[in-house]
């Protein structure tokens, strides 16, 4: 009985840390951009995402490590239309303490759900050394990941599985103002979740912002020098409550705001980048577990 209750509770605590299609978009570091991919060209992005959480108000002493290697392939259909494919490889681990039993560990590893989405440039104002763009995007998360993994305790809770089993949709707007000295990006995204395995995650709305300021070279001369950007991003994420077997879970959903300082090294052919998202507001429902930080590092490659 206790185990069943604890398992359900942990299910929803874990969910907050593992969900969110916005985190797999292409750029800046924590979300997408409106900048183009040339017709017939491919871009590849690989990003390692390390999520850590140990602030558990439930008394179960939960500690969660959720690692993901997120691969993104973008293809330019035209100067305005780009298609993206996203495939994460997930390594999730949940440690918790059960009274009378001691510490326990549950984990999963494997490819997660793939996402496919398209982005179309609605507005483009190009000037010498600057561009202002607004793009709309929309896509679907396909349940390609394994959602039937189990361990000695039985089937893993859905949020701990590599796959969700559900078909989810997402869409939104993204805008970019890029100059030779700085870049501003903002994104509004909404994700619709569907039910699978008697579990339905709460829908998610998010508002993201990013500013990138060129630190090096301090003075632009001729040619195409590599840029070093200081990056500061913020993510406002609002998640609805989950439902399990038709019942709303009070320990799920809520509002989070992250602040993410980072750095980018931008050359003609590749970009190296890293950022750490620190939660500055976590107004979560019930006994939802809270994030400690989310670290991201990776590269983008134009080939």
């Amino acid at each position: 009985m206790f185990f069943q209750s604890a398992r359900n509770q942990l299910t929803f605590l874990v969910f907050l840390l593992l969900a969110g299609p916005g985190s797999v978009l292409a750029a800046p570091i924590t979300f997408n951009t409106a900048l183009p991919v040339a017709r017939g060209e491919f871009l590849n992005r690989e990003q390692l995402v390390l999520k850590r959480s140990g602030k558990d108000p439930s008394g179960l002493n939960s500690d969660i490590k959720a690692n993901a290697l997120v691969s993104v392939l973008a293809y330019g259909i035209s100067g305005k239309l780009t298609i993206f494919g996203v495939l994460p490889y997930l390594d999730n681990e949940l440690r918790f303490t059960m009274p009378g039993v001691g510490s326990a560990r549950r984990s999963s590893r494997g490819f997660g759900d793939a996402s496919v989405f398209m982005r179309y440039t609605l507005h483009q104002n190009d000037q010498q050394g600057s561009t202002l763009r607004l793009a709309v995007f929309g896509g679907v998360k396909v349940p390609t990941g394994n959602d039937t993994q189990s361990d000695a305790f039985g089937p893993l809770p859905i949020p701990l599985q590599s796959g969700s089993g559900s078909w989810d949709g997402f869409g939104g707007l993204v805008t970019t103002w890029q100059t030779l000295n700085f870049q501003l990006d903002a994104q509004l995204c909404y994700a619709f979740k569907t039910e699978a395995n008697n579990f339905q995650a709460g829908n998610e709305a998010r508002l993201d912002g990013s500013v990138q300021y060129r630190l090096l070279p301090r003075e632009l001369k001729s040619g195409v020098p590599a840029f070093v950007y200081a990056v500061l991003e913020t993510n406002l994420i609002q998640r609805g409550k989950n439902t399990i077997s038709g019942r709303t879970d009070p320990n799920s959903g809520g509002t989070s705001i992250f602040l993410a300082p980072g750095i980018q090294y931008v050359t003609r052919r590749y970009i190296l980048e890293a950022a750490v998202q620190f939660p500055i507001v976590q107004n979560l429902n019930g006994q939802s577990i809270k994030n400690d930080y989310i670290a991201r590092t990776g590269f983008r490659w134009n080939f």
């Binding site: 017939g40 060209e41 190009d126 632009l220 001729s222 590599a226 931008v266 052919r269 970009i271």
Partner: protein
């Protein structure tokens, strides 16, 4: 007659070995504001038959293209190519012969 044939053959061989007149095209590009963006345009240009070296001056928003003749890239083709790459053509200039002031442009090679 024999002399004429020899003369024509020599003329043909000479013309075959003479390189086509080199044309340099200076593209003014709007919307290009980072190194990563420049590479996408350069790749599109290098796919064109007859295009040689391509070099970009990011601060000026200019791309210098070496072409093997006048017919390699027209202004309309350049405009379409830049649109396909996601950018906007601001200006188009052609120069015959050796290009001047090339030292001010960075190399398009990696």
């Amino acid at each position: 007659m024999k002399f004429t044939i020899i003369f024509m053959s020599v003329l043909l061989l000479w013309s075959a070995n003479t390189p086509a007149e080199e044309t340099h095209i200076l593209l003014g590009v709007n919307g290009m504001a980072c190194p990563f963006c420049a590479y996408g345009i350069e790749k599109q240009l290098k796919k064109i038959d007859g295009v040689g070296e391509v070099s970009t001056n990011l601060p000026q928003g200019e791309i210098w293209v070496e072409a093997s003749g006048n017919e390699v890239l027209s202004e309309d083709e350049a405009r379409t190519l830049l649109q396909d790459a996601g950018f906007t053509l601001r200006s188009f200039e052609t120069h015959q012969g050796k290009k001047n002031d090339h030292d001010t442009h960075g190399s398009g090679k990696d």
